[in-house]
Amino acid sequence: MIALLLILVPLLGGLATFFLKKESEVRTWSLFVAVLTFIVAILGVSVLNAPEYLSFKADWMGDLGSTFSIKADAMGMMLCMLTAISFPIIFIGTWKTAYEKPQNFFALMLLAQAGMMGVFLAMDALVFYFFWELALIPMYFLSSQWGGARRIPVMFKFFVYTFIGSLLMLVGLIYIWSKNGGSFDIDAFYNSKLSVKEQMWLFWLLFAAFAVKMPIFPFHTWQPDTYEQAPTAVTAVLSAIMVKMGVLGLLRWLLPVLPVGSYVMGDNPSFLAMIGIVYASIIAFRQDDMKRLVAFSSIAHVGLMCIAAFSESKSGMQGIMIQMFSHGINILGLWVIIEIIERKFGTRKMSELGGVAQKAPALAIAFFVIMFATVSLPITNAFIGEYLMLNGIFNSTVTSYGVIYAVVASTGVILSVVYMFSMARKVFLGNTNELTVKGTDIDFPEKAVLGIILVIILVMGVYPQPFLNMMEGVSDSLLKASDIQHLILKK
């Protein structure tokens, strides 16, 4: 029931938003819906040990072997929680940003939220595919309507990339469906009898969709442009939440469904992700636009998650779980700060800014803490995740290149220090110039939002154990389902 509410509340709230007229009403209403969703998510986390509240099943297209089946396991609940936290933060963080036709903007935002919740909760391949596409459409309209100057071609590139990826995934899903007795249910997918050869080419069909979404190195070219051109609120959703759709796809719909294919082919994506980490990090410190810098840094972070996923180790899996959440929170913080800076000074170009820390000390403090988290300094949340992932990759038993991946991926962490610190230097430190000299500090709502982010960063960095305990069950079961040793024993 709670799982259904997680989708329904933003869906109905979003549809209702279309009919509101006044801007203040729209903002208050959408914030109310977002907070309500957050409360539902808290309820969901609190009953995580009682799965009967967290699943919902209804008949739907029975002749296709598809039921509307949604369930919040710990991973799904965690990502729903991330989504539910993100939206109020985004709405408050961009409270003062003016949007033309605000009712359409906020309505589409809430619809996108509903779509993403559906992706995280779907336990039926067809339902998963439906939500996967439905989350995309509002994002496309949002970015194309309210984005920057080059928004139309850029967003279209984004749309075509993801559309091709998801259609290839659809073919893969239909093929698996045809081989497992005509059921789209996730358990049937986990037990499908596919030959090694079939798994090997199906792997690429499914991986195409997830690789575009995450994105993994050669499929990433849509991402910096899209992040730059989309309005920052949308960019925040794209990078904090939508990227996790790709990672969740890997963990839930690729590794356990095609264990042999992933085992045989796993080194290819890992290798691509490894190239992506170094490549994106190097490109990141050539950027002048803050949004593009963060976009490239996101490629590096997600690349590490991809390698960890294919390392199929306990430590790596736990690392991904915590890092999915941490990366979402950290990058969300960065977007809120970038949004505030852009609104205050009218530019995102680092070369035109400087000395912001003198004028806005609270903003600077928030930025520095979030930056430390992004470069995964100890006592921040990302340190836990990245350490666990690197450890898992290093000790991986399914790949013989674990050491190489771990070493190269670690350079990504070092490179992240270079570009993040240079951003801090250019924007916050140094002397003020004529643009920044009249700057003011952030006001209370913004402080509150950033404060929440800082608290999450520090708490999870110092004491991650409850979180890890919560994720342990799902990590184990995913690993077990993806483990081919286990498959051999079963036969």
Binding site: L134, Q145, I152, I164, L167, V171
Partner: protein, 460 residues
């Protein structure tokens, strides 16, 4: 059978209405009442009550599949009349005759969906195409319309000749026009004669011509462009889909046993159609021509039904027929009401006509195959049917890549409507037309969520 006789009668009635009644609204209402009567009669037959009991067993067979399709065709015709009533009057001075021709087309469609004999197939194709020649040239004073009609007539007669040749060859090898006899004659294991192969291929190519499948598609864009837009939309939907129904009926029932000899040709036609239709559509500057090419690319998807020939293909063809017809009727109705058919003509439509832009968007999303629309389910069933055959998975992958290409040109219209600025080129729609458009969108979404409401009639 109910609807067949009534539609022929209604055609004659409409011709006389044209003599006695001069007011267009009355003519339209008579036509709509006739269509509603056909629809009801057909649904009653679907539920098992036959009004006319003639023994036509050697010539026609009405099963659920054909009756459901006939219901869809008539229903789409009703929506078509509702949504573009104004445009039909604008075409020329003889609206009653146009409706008479449409009723004759419907009777041809009914024959196409239920023939059991190659003679009836030939008659059906002729009954469908000859009125559409006239409708293409209905705009008498427009040279483009005349040219299109002549072109269509010449090419159409040529392909009819090819079809007759195919029928003759098949008759020569089988000694019968009856499809059931052929199935017995073409059992697996029997020696296949060259005559049979030549006959099957000739029939395949002539059917491909009639349903505008590449490389036999060259007439389509010119005819659709030249014909009055209203009638182009009717030809692109009901007529085209009906030819497909005839296509699958012929190849499954008559030549199904020999599918191994010709299915590879179907695969080649699918690849050619998807490739040529989609790639050419991306380069069009006029939305109307783009829709003509997109109708070719949809033919490629519908051809998967002939390729797969299983239960899923039947369901898929029904869903695809409904989805494609609804969306195409909807978008064509909007295009017909535009002053400017180019992409730029659509700039800023969302600001001036939010409702029209929204309906256009839903139709386009359905054509592009986005989930929650019936267009997605149509594609899904087709892909499913093809995957279930277990061969040529590469063909399916190719098809989805082409589906992604198709998103390009559909989204260009959406981009123009929502994200660009321009003058209002929309000439206005009456209230009935607006409600009908909303109804089309509602149907697209309802069928997209619950295809069962339509498919259940295939079995019960």
């Amino acid at each position: 059978m109910n609807a067949l006789l009534l539609s022929a009668i209604m055609g004659v009635v409409m011709m006389f209405t044209g003599i006695w009644v001069k007011r267009y609204t009355v003519i339209k209402r008579v036509a709509l009442a006739g269509m509603a009567l056909l629809f009801v009669a057909n649904c009653i037959e679907l539920k098992g009550t036959k009004w006319f009991n003639f023994d036509v067993s050697g010539f026609m067979q009405f099963n659920n599949f054909s009756l459901v399709f006939i219901a869809i065709a008539i229903f789409v015709t009703i929506l078509f009349t509702l949504v573009s009533g104004t445009e039909i009057r604008k075409v020329g001075n003889y609206p009653a005759d146009y409706f008479a021709l449409i009723f004759f087309i419907i009777s041809g469609v009914i024959l196409l969906a239920s023939f059991q004999n190659l003679l009836i197939l030939f008659l059906a194709i002729e009954i469908v195409t000859i009125p559409s020649f006239i409708l293409t040239g209905a705009e008498k004073r427009n040279l483009k319309s005349n040219e299109a009609a002549l072109k269509y007539l010449l090419l159409g007669s040529f392909s009819t000749g090819v079809m007759l040749l195919g029928i003759a060859l098949i008759y020569g090898s089988q000694g019968s026009f009856d499809i059931n006899q052929m199935q017995i004659g073409m059992l697996e294991g029997n020696k296949i004669s060259n005559l049979q192969v030549a006959g099957i291929l000739t029939l395949m190519f002539s059917m491909a011509f009639k349903s505008s499948i590449a490389p036999f598609h060259f007439w389509t864009p010119d005819i659709y462009d030249g014909a009055p837009t209203v009638f182009a939309s009717y030809m692109a939907t009901v007529i085209k889909v009906a030819v497909f129904i005839g296509f699958i009926r012929l190849f499954e029932n008559a030549f199904g046993n020999l599918s191994s000899t010709w299915v590879v040709w179907i695969a080649v036609l699918i690849v050619a159609t998807l490739l040529i239709g989609n790639i050419t559509a991306t380069f069009q500057q006029s939305v109307k021509r783009m829709l003509a090419y997109s109708s070719i690319s949809h033919a490629g998807f519908m051809l998967f039904a002939v390729f797969a020939m299983n239960e899923s293909a039947h369901e898929g063809l029904i869903i695809y027929a409904a989805g494609y017809s609804l969306a195409t009727i909807g978008i064509f109705a909007i295009v017909a009401k535009m002053n400017d058919y180019s992409y730029e003509g659509f700039n800023g439509l969302a600001r001036h006509q939010p409702l029209i832009a929204l309906t256009a968007t839903i139709c386009l999303l359905s054509l592009a195959g986005i989930p929650l629309s019936v267009g997605f389910l149509g594609k899904f069933y087709m892909l499913k049917a093809a995957v279930l055959t277990g061969k040529y998975i590469g063909l399916v992958v190719f098809a989805v890549i082409m589906a992604a290409v198709s998103a390009y040109y559909y989204f260009r219209v959406i981009q123009a409507m929502y994200f660009k600025e321009g003058p209002d080129n929309f000439t206005g729609a009456t209230t009935v037309e607006k409600y009908s458009m909303v109804a089309i969108c509602a149907l697209i979404i309802i069928l997209g969520i619950m295809p069962g409401v339509l498919l259940v009639h295939l079995y019960f």
